[in-house]
Amino acid sequence: MKYRSVTEIIGPIMVGPSSSHTAGAARIGRLARLLFDGQPKRVNIHLYGSFAKTYKGHGTDVALIGGLLDFDTFDERIRDAKEHASNANMRVRFHEEEAIPDHPNTVKLRLESDDSAMELVGISIGGGKIEIIELNGFALQLTGHHPALLIVHQDRYGVIANVANVLALHKVNIGHMKVSRKEKGREALMVIEVDQTVTDEIMTSLEKLEHVDQVAKLHE
């Protein structure tokens, strides 16, 4: 079942006018910033489906920008997010796409700074609830509700077992896990939602594992 907590129905507390097109958009922007680990310098935002058709009226644009600036759904600065973005030297460009997406409220963001870039696809599925469904070309399913680990690794036997061992050693329980790869034997991505906090010590142990290239953690 997608919806489990009453707070997903009664809530969020938010600045209007739309939970999917405003609050959900702000959450996607904020999660993107969190995954990027900081504020990007340039962002290209591609809007699809209902997002592309109605973003002006719903404040989807200012909400996405607000999220990228780390504003929460109820932050009244969302209204003037464009101004805040230019003050913070973050350049944002919007593109209205014609392609029909699987989900009507789909957005693709490309975040860039001088030495890094990231591309992700988010969907807003209703009532402010969101999912990140693609990250740098990898399919995934990330809600931002639970602490999560993102591990970029080489597609080799034993890597998953080694990661699970490190977590078990630190008494961290895995709630949901997904592994995806672009090609057999090449780069792969593990997304692990956990029930406990992931300490720096765990992060260091994971980074030292063979065939693990990059480790990031995500907390709401």
């Binding site: 907590s5 009664i10 600045v15 209007g16 739309s18 009226g57 719903h58």
Partner: protein
């Protein structure tokens, strides 16, 4: 966790508890939060809702586009004059639902229930019943939990998104949620709550999402008005002992199927329905020319 309304009602019967109590217990189990934390969270949301209602009926609220604002206040004054045809409790549910949505359209602070576009129905109905029934604060927190329990069933088995299921999924769901919660607040049984939900949602089936210029304003504010009135009437009917011939879960399923067969032009794309009328189109170009001049 209850997957449908039948299971929800079964849990209330098995343990001899109310729907809101089932919701509290499940929330504790799912999120690991304490009972107190669950109720405090609802209390904070009540405060936000009450403030939005107050703003909408006392202040001169106007949306950025200028399309909406002031109607909740207008109706509240009309009620005070004492000539209302429908009865004060029903009309106050309507005025307070509109007030909330007008604040939402003005990018004010609201609580989505279940969405922002349908945020007026649940609190509008509650803050009218507050005058009538004089409930405790905890009873009001429980009202939100009961409406949330029904909302969860709809979200998991159909949809609460206008883009996915049309307005029936948003204001329709909200009307059902409010009707069910009103029954519990008034002392009805869990079964009567389910009947109220079924009768309210039935009367919203097929409702399309066709916002003029894509804004959550026209017809959203007035759809919330109708949603609140249907919620009140359905609650009264259920409390009178009237039952829905089609069980609540089947009504929810019908809503899902209708949403699936609805044209994309009628699901929050602003391409059909009222959005595509001559006046709707004219308003759209007016609004976007205006904002283009400003930027």
């Amino acid at each position: 966790m209850f997957r449908n309304v039948a299971e929800l009602i079964e849990l209330t019967n098995r343990d001899g508890i109310s729907i809101s109590e089932v919701m509290i217990q499940q929330e504790i189990e799912v999120t690991g939060r304490s009972r107190e934390a669950v109720l405090t969270d609802m209390d904070e949301k009540l405060t936000i809702m009450e403030e939005a209602v107050r703003r909408g009926i006392e202040e001169d609220v106007k949306s950025v586009s200028g399309l909406t604002g002031g109607d909740g206040k207008k109706l509240e004054k009309y009620i005070e004059n004492g000539n209302g045809l429908s009865g004060d409790t029903l009309l106050r549910a309507v005025s307070r639902a509109m007030a909330t949505n007008e604040v939402n359209a003005a990018m004010g602070m609201i609580c989505a229930t279940p969405t922002a576009g349908s945020a007026g129905v649940v609190p509008g109905t509650l803050f009218s019943l507050k005058d009538k029934l004089n409930p405790t604060r905890e009873a009001m927190q429980r009202y939100l939990l009961t409406s949330g329990a029904f909302g969860l069933v709809v979200a998991n088995n159909a949809s609460i998104s206008g883009a996915a299921g049309g307005c029936q999924a948003e204001v329709g769901s909200a009307a059902g949620m409010a009707a069910a919660a009103a029954v519990e607040l008034a002392g009805g049984t869990p079964k009567q709550s389910a009947e109220a939900m079924a009768m309210a949602l039935k009367n919203m089936l097929g409702l399309v999402c066709d916002p003029v210029a894509g804004l959550v304003e026209v017809p959203c504010v007035k759809r919330n008005a109708a949603g609140a009135s249907i919620a009140m009437v359905a609650a009264d009917m259920a409390l009178a002992g009237i039952e829905s011939r089609i069980p609540c879960d089947e009504v929810i399923d019908a809503m899902y199927r209708i949403g699936e067969s609805m044209s994309e032009t009628l699901k929050e794309t602003a391409l059909g329905g009222l959005a595509a009328t001559p006046t709707g189109k004219a308003l759209e170009s007016q609004i976007f020319d205006l904002s283009a001049e400003r930027t």
